[in-house]
């Protein structure tokens, strides 16, 4: 947490993941609880599969920087195939990483760095909720649920109320995915040898 209660969240994913939607839905949910918010995404040529980064600021005061987030409090990665150096850039000891992956950190070697690492199997939660299929799951609402849980910027109820207003179809599946993500966050277990 920074000055004025400002929390800065950076989200990494790919075109088609719904990264910018996730950022704006989180901002809107926090806004409904009376917070000041800002959300935006950056992309080069807009195309499916290209890396996309989105940013969310939530604070108690209206003054916020208007720039990309270099030193995030929380980083979210939609999958483990994204360039690790970019995802972790600027993340300080004490900061938090939320990673979408099945059980371990899939070779990301995150132990002993001083981050808080949280995992969520958003791909499986999404498929179980009926969103997409194995190999092409629609994961953003599951990750949003997990992000609400780890960030504490709003309640799960505020998130689901935003999703109900914003999502045009597959409402029940998306709400189930968000709740599944919220409940499905795990801590990364680091074994002594890895530390």
């Amino acid at each position: 947490m920074k000055a004025n209660g400002l929390k800065e969240i950076r989200i990494h994913g790919r075109g088609g993941h719904g990264v910018v939607f996730a950022a704006t839905a989180l901002a809107e949910a926090a806004y409904r609880e009376g917070k000041f918010v800002q959300a935006f995404g950056i992309y080069g040529a807009e195309r499916r599969g290209a890396p996309v980064t989105a940013f969310v600021r939530v604070g108690d005061r209206p003054e916020m920087p208007r720039c990309q987030i270099q030193q995030p409090d929380i980083v979210v990665s939609f999958d483990t195939n994204l360039p690790k150096e970019q995802v972790l850039k600027g993340l300080k000891p004490g900061g938090m990483l939320l990673l979408n992956c099945p059980d371990s950190s899939e070779g990301w070697d995150l132990c002993g760095r001083g981050y808080l690492v949280r995992l969520v199997d958003a791909s499986q939660i999404a498929v179980k909720s009926g969103l997409g299929a194995v190999g092409i799951p629609v994961i953003n609402t599951a990750i949003l649920g997990a992000l609400v849980q780890v960030s504490g910027v709003c309640s799960l109820e505020s998130l689901t109320s935003v999703l109900q207003d914003k999502i045009p179809r597959h409402m029940n599946e998306n709400l189930a995915a968000a709740r599944g993500g919220y409940a499905g966050v795990r801590e990364l277990e680091c074994y002594a040898t890895a530390l």
């Binding site: 000055a3 004025n4 959300a39 935006f40 950056i42 003054e63 920087p65 720039c67």
Partner: protein
């Protein structure tokens, strides 16, 4: 009034809708595209009821709006970068013809090479076309400025370009108060419903003139531009009366007797302000909202004060061979005054992101005596 989380581009569309615009025409270009996408959605939903004209280029988009404005319609277009450059000839024409058009420009770098980052050289290159130009610092301000722009354009018979940072404002979601149509109708009169042209009695406009007539017309336009300061201040006060939101042509924030002043335009102002508040610094910020006409008196009043020792001019654009363009204008406004403070430029040409980390590094470079600091060398 309702409050919504929307982007800068969506804010433009709301303002165009609330202004009862009769004709919109534009050609898509990143980062402007979602302005016209949102207007198209509003048209489909019956919320925007004017004409929506699809065209094959920016040149035609502005041509169409010029035709509509000649006929007396309230017309709007939007663009960025190469699209704006492609309109250039007609941008001159609209001002010469005294047409009260409003255009928004989401700032983007000019190629080569292709670059969609938020450099301001696209609209600053249109500096001498005779349009009024504003630069906005947040999403709410974009919505309010477009509404103000329609009234101002129609009162001084001069087109207005409302500019804002591509992505940092065009694509940023923030909480915005969207006024009700009833509130806006207290401020902005309904557009004319009778066409100025009558096909039964055809007339010809803006045919060939000699240099004397041309010079006289240019003097008239010059004097009209000089009236913009007072007119804008009056309209801004009136608008503030109904919305409680005010946007001075030049905004000063920070301690009154600050020794160091940052001067900038657009959304970078907000990063500088939050940098001050988080580090409890003693500097102040001067944000230039109105670029044409250039508010020289305000600039002198804030910058040429005996307690000011240093001015840091922050530009996200560069005029090759000279320096930052806002810096160049500020220097011209201060020319001839004695005892001026030291002036330093921090340049983010190419659309570089101004971060608190970059500001800290830039301040160190200032301490070391650098006069032209290229932010790209500090990354």
């Amino acid at each position: 009034m309702e409050q919504k989380i929307i982007t800068g581009n969506q804010a433009v569309a709301h303002a165009v809708r609330l202004s009862k615009t009769q004709v919109v025409s534009a050609y898509p270009i990143t980062p402007q595209t979602t302005v016209m996408e949102t207007l198209a959605e509003m048209w489909a939903a019956g919320e925007y009821t004017g004409e929506y004209v699809n065209v094959e280029s920016e040149y035609t988009a502005l041509s169409y709006c010029i035709g509509a404005a000649y006929a007396g319609a309230r017309a709007f277009t939007a663009s960025s970068a190469h699209g704006l450059a492609y309109m250039h000839e007609l941008i001159h024409w609209a001002a010469g013809a005294r047409l009260p058009l409003v255009m928004t420009n989401a700032n983007r770098a000019m190629g080569a090479p292709w670059c969609i980052e938020s450099d301001q050289l696209d609209s600053l290159s249109q500096r001498d076309t005779g349009w009024i130009q504003f630069y906005c610092a947040n999403v709410q301000e974009i919505l309010d400025t477009v509404i103000l722009a329609f009234r101002l354009a129609e009162e001084v018979h001069t087109p207005v370009m409302v500019c804002y940072d591509g992505f940092y404002l065009s694509h940023t979601y923030e909480a915005v108060n969207i006024p009700s149509p009833e509130v806006i109708s207290q401020f902005l009169p309904n557009p004319r419903t009778q066409a100025l042209f009558d096909l039964q009695t055809p007339t010809n406009h803006h045919g060939l003139v000699g240099s004397e007539a041309m010079s006289q017309l240019m003097q008239v336009r010059f004097k009209a531009m000089a009236r913009v300061f007072d007119r804008y201040n009056l309209l801004n006060t009136q608008y503030a009366g109904i919305t409680r939101r005010s946007y001075p042509a030049v905004e000063y924030s920070g301690p009154e007797n600050a020794k160091t002043l940052f001067v900038t335009a657009g959304g970078m102002a907000q990063t500088i302000k939050s940098f001050f508040s988080s580090t409890e610094r003693e500097e102040a910020l001067v944000r230039i909202k109105m670029f044409r006409p250039f508010p020289m008196e305000d600039i002198r009043r804030y910058l040429a004060q005996s307690h000011v020792e240093r001015i840091i001019l922050v530009d996200r654009n560069v005029c090759m061979g000279v320096g930052g363009i806002f810096a160049q204008e500020v220097r011209a406004a201060l020319a001839g005054l004695s005892g001026l403070p030291e002036m330093v430029e921090l340049n983010l040409a190419g659309g570089l992101d101004l971060t608190p980390e970059l500001l800290s590094k830039a301040l160190l470079a200032v301490q070391e005596g650098e006069k032209m600091i290229w932010a790209v060398n500090l990354l």
